[in-house]
């Protein structure tokens, strides 16, 4: 599973990355977590409000930081 956290490096992006990692570990799946910080890459993935969460190329959330439980549901 490829998890991407989109955002230019603000506090909320870091928080999202932490929560996403915790959620993925909780599920016990194989995953890679990448932070996408460059604007062209963010725009290309179809995200307008950061932080964004993209799983295997699909935009799962944007503009807010979901809770760990909510991210777990998004990863399933």
């Amino acid at each position: 599973m490829k998890i991407e956290v989109l955002g230019s490096g603000c506090a909320k992006c870091k928080l999202l990355a932490e929560r996403a990692e915790e959620a993925a570990k909780g599920l016990g799946v194989d995953f890679s977590l990448v932070k996408v910080t460059e604007y062209p890459d963010i725009v290309a993935r179809g995200v307008m409000s950061t932080p964004g969460l993209v799983v295997d190329g699909v935009v799962k959330s944007q503009g807010h930081v979901p809770t760990v439980a909510a991210i777990r549901d998004l990863l399933r």
């Binding site: 230019s8 490096g9 603000c10 506090a11 909320k12 290309a44 179809g46 935009v59 944007q62 998004l74």
Partner: protein, 357 residues
């Protein structure tokens, strides 16, 4: 940029619905009388703390400063929590993507007006100004309307509106909102008329782009309340320190600066005070919650209303971090014109109030 994002008072609702109406709704209903009781007890409690517990003399500088802080800090935080909760709830119905879709179909002055109005309530964070800007422009929102939104969103946000209401009454809150929207509307209109599309950085129009889709948000009132509660916790946790710092500065000024001192520098008679307030305010970055306690003290110490409001608009609407972020999409000339037009609008508003009030 880090500073901008840290103090960024953006809504951060959580998407998955948890629990029903009675989990969070019932909890909120139970909390309401407690909140009202605490709020009413604040003033006597602050005086008791300052003058009895600390034994400071009423009327003394330190005593007045401490009493001011002990009263204002919990008051502003309590107001903020309620305001953010209400706003976060409304915002579960709104998103930047939906605003973009509404604006994509409008051209002309109506587009600017709508963009300025939507800027009030649409969740916005200056840290995502660049993807938002590209998202707007690439789906065909006119450049002028995009600027109207970018000016209005940080300056006239709902938190500012309700805090002004709570501290200064509805007249000032309404004045700030109407003139803020007017500045955003006119600035965007002018910037649109100047036809400065060629002063965008080229990558804005050429970068591979996918239009973000507008999500539908959670189903049911209970789920939305849950989101709003979560967002409130996140936001209050993020801004409380800035609010306290603002009030501490305010308390110091309150206790140690004579009441008429600022009248000379920031009163009506000092014609240069409005542009000076804007010049000082532009490089500063703070959200509305942090700046309002300072505005409160400026007003109490003899600053003219127009000067104080212009200062607040300059701090929230224009900032150094946001300028640095926008430089990624705007060439220097357009960036300069943008800053100039908005700053001029704010100065005009300041003079208008100083003349009228």
């Amino acid at each position: 940029m880090t500073d901008a994002s840290k103090s960024c008072a953006c809504a951060a609702p959580t998407p998955t619905p948890r629990g029903g109406f009675w989990t969070s709704g019932g909890w909120l209903l139970a909390a309401l009388p407690v909140w009202v009781g605490l709020y009413l007890a604040l003033h006597p409690a602050a005086d008791w703390l300052a003058f009895r517990v600390f034994g400071l003399a009423p009327g003394s500088r330190l005593g007045e400063a401490v009493a001011f802080f002990a009263y204002d800090a919990p008051k502003v935080l309590m107001l903020l929590a309620v305001v953010v909760l209400g706003v976060s709830f409304v915002q579960t119905f709104l998103s930047a993507e939906r605003t973009r879709d509404l604006l994509a179909k409008r051209t002309g002055a109506w587009g600017n007006l709508l963009a300025s109005l939507l800027g009030i309530a649409t969740p916005f964070c200056s840290c995502s100004a660049v993807p938002l800007f590209i998202g707007f422009v690439r789906v065909g929102v006119p450049l002028g309307a995009t600027f109207s939104f970018l000016v209005s969103a940080p300056m006239v946000n709902e938190v500012a509106l309700f805090l002004l209401w709570g501290l200064f009454g509805w007249r000032i809150a309404l004045l700030y909102t109407v003139t803020g929207v007017a500045v955003a509307f006119v600035s965007g209109l002018i910037l649109g008329k100047l036809r400065m599309e060629r002063h965008l950085e080229p990558w804005v129009m050429t970068v591979p782009f996918t239009a973000a889709e507008a999500g539908s948000g959670p189903a049911g009132i209970g789920a939305r309340l849950d989101l709003a509660l979560q967002a409130t916790k996140d936001i209050v946790r993020k801004v409380w320190l800035y609010v306290l710092a603002g009030i501490a500065v305010g308390a110091f000024l309150h206790g140690y600066v004579p009441a008429e001192l600022l009248a000379r520098f920031m009163g009506k008679s000092a014609w240069w005070s409005v542009p000076l307030a804007v010049l000082i305010g532009v490089p500063l970055y703070s959200n509305a919650a942090g700046i309002i306690p300072i505005v409160q003290v400026l007003l109490a110490k003899g600053a003219a209303l127009g000067t104080a409001l212009a200062f607040m608009m300059a701090v929230t609407g224009l900032s150094l971090p946001e300028t640095v972020i926008l430089r990624k999409v705007l060439k220097p000339r357009l960036l300069g014109v943008f800053l100039g037009v908005v700053a001029a609008g704010i100065v005009l508003v300041g003079y208008l109030f100083n003349v009228l009030m």
